[in-house]
Amino acid sequence: MNIRGQITIYKKAFTLVEIAISIAIISLIAAGIFMILTSGSTSWNQETVLLELQQQARSVVEGMIKEIRQTDPSQSISITDSDQKIVFYIVDITNPVSYYLSNGEIIREHPAGNTRIIANNINSLSFSYAGNTIGISLVAEKTDRQGRSLSYPLKAKVRFRNE
């Protein structure tokens, strides 16, 4: 207000410097928020891929464990193809069950010729056999949206319930 009581609206305007400073501050804040958002989104994508790999690896290993536990050790158990394939018999089941890795997929075959893909995105799979125990070791691998290769390794040991 001036001396005569008139309203001067021009005084309320921002100077160029004020505007420049505010733009600079807002830009800094926006850049900060953007960076936080970007890194959040990146790790979200990464964790989502890892979660998917974990769930898939666990589910396929659990499925294999359930069957391998029932192995009839008096029948032949073979591990071939650089330990990537296992063939075993289950008590009271005539045809053998086999699991093997083929082009990044784990295939279950039972009975012979009847195949089923039970997991994909598998980088490596290996079996070991000692003292009525089968070891399973696999690595699930997938590329996320940023093009990074993420992997999740999982190992399990199964002891036969049938002597």
């Binding site: 039972h110 003292g131 319930r161 049938n162």
Partner: protein, 363 residues
């Protein structure tokens, strides 16, 4: 100016709405993930509850084999309950155990395990020089076997002309019949013939902690063990007694073992030592004057110049493997004497099945 002030409110409402939507999606996703995880963990708990039911049935059937019924044993444990059904199928018992979490009445997870048990000592159990409930693997030409052979799985034998006796493949003899180990241990304890095995493989007297040699022959001087060995109705000095050596570990004999004898029962210690395999390994030469019962592998390496001789017979659960100079002869007198002890069989699991597999199985 006043008209424009409302825009901030609209903007704030919009931003809050977007945040609420995002938050709701996140919360609902994490609720569904946590439900899945809970379901998975409950299923695992139910599985082990069912396993507890199987162990209970094994224990109960060892006490009384003639029990059957639905919901025969039901027990509440920490996280849930198990219930066990037993069906009598001739000499076998079909045991079906269920695990429920958190309770039978309000089960959110149920797992089932089906097991067949029996306690048979099969006919002809005492009639063989070699009795393998798994494989037989004999290498080289420096061995001799006198007596019949039976096996369940694989047969890989060089120079079968060195065997004087019949060879029978019989898949049904697996798993190896299980003696009543408590009964054997009790006899062995009276005789002072219980052994534990040190980490370096030495045989130890559990009472003194000192190293102790195996008995030197199949028969031992007469002691009153309450067993009428000759079956004449009187327990007297005419009852020659079999040395029953009960070995709680893997039996390893190395070098010149001299003459050892008796009924050597190698049962291992799998309850306290998961790496235990109940194997018998002999590297060296000497005489075993008697019979060996091993639940794992019976393995002879070498045998030395004079060779290793077994005058009796061998039972093995997994594999009999002979390398080098080994002579094994069936001894009908020794086997007959063990047979006339009328040892009872103990209940064991013949087959174990988890019917809730992830993928279909074609019989």
């Amino acid at each position: 100016m006043n008209k424009n002030k409302g825009a901030v409110f609209v903007l704030v409402v919009f931003v809050v709405l977007v945040l609420v939507l995002l938050g709701t999606a996140l919360v609902s996703q994490s609720i569904s993930e946590s439900r899945l995880a809970k379901k998975y963990s409950e299923s695992i708990q139910a599985f082990w509850l069912a396993e507890a039911g199987i162990n209970r049935a094994l224990d109960e059937l060892r006490l009384n084999y003639y029990q059957s019924g639905t919901g025969l044993w039901t027990t509440i444990l920490d996280t849930g309950e198990y219930s066990v059904d037993v069906v009598i199928e001739s000499q076998d018992r079909r045991v079906i155990a269920y695990g429920f979490v958190p309770s039978i009445a309000q089960a959110s997870a149920v797992r089932r395990i089906e097991v067949v048990m029996n306690k048979d000592i099969p006919p002809g159990f005492y009639d063989y020089a070699l009795y393998s409930a798994g494989d037989i693997d004999v290498n080289g030409d420096a061995y001799n076997i006198q007596g019949d052979i039976i096996y369940a799985d694989d047969w890989e034998v060089d120079h079968p002309e060195n065997i004087i006796g019949t060879v029978t493949a019989e898949p049904t003899i697996t798993p190896l019949a299980r003696f009543d180990f408590q009964e054997l241990r009790d006899i062995s304890e009276i005789q002072g013939n219980i052994y534990t095995v040190s980490p370096s493989g030495k045989l130890i007297d559990p009472d003194t902690g000192e190293e102790k040699a195996l008995p030197s022959s199949f028969w031992s001087p007469w002691r009153d063990d309450g067993i009428d060995n000759d079956g004449d109705g009187a327990i007297d000095e005419n009852d020659e007694q079999i040395n029953i050596a009960y070995i709680e570990g893997d039996l390893q004999l190395n070098g010149n073992i001299g003459s050892v004898g008796g009924f050597l029962v190698v049962v291992g210690d799998v309850i306290t030592d998961p790496d235990d395999t109940q194997d018998t390994t002999i590297n060296g030469n000497g005489l075993i004057d008697g019979v060996i019962y091993t639940r794992g592998t019976f393995r002879v390496n070498g045998g030395g110049e004079d060779g290793l001789n077994v005058d009796g017979g061998v039972w093995a659960g997994d594999l009999i493997r002979l390398n080098g100079s080994v002579d094994i002869a069936y001894n009908a007198e020794y086997m007959g004497a063990i047979g006339s002890l009328n040892l009872g069989g103990d209940v064991q699991v013949i087959s174990w099945k988890d019917p809730q597999t992830s993928y279909p199985l074609v019989p």
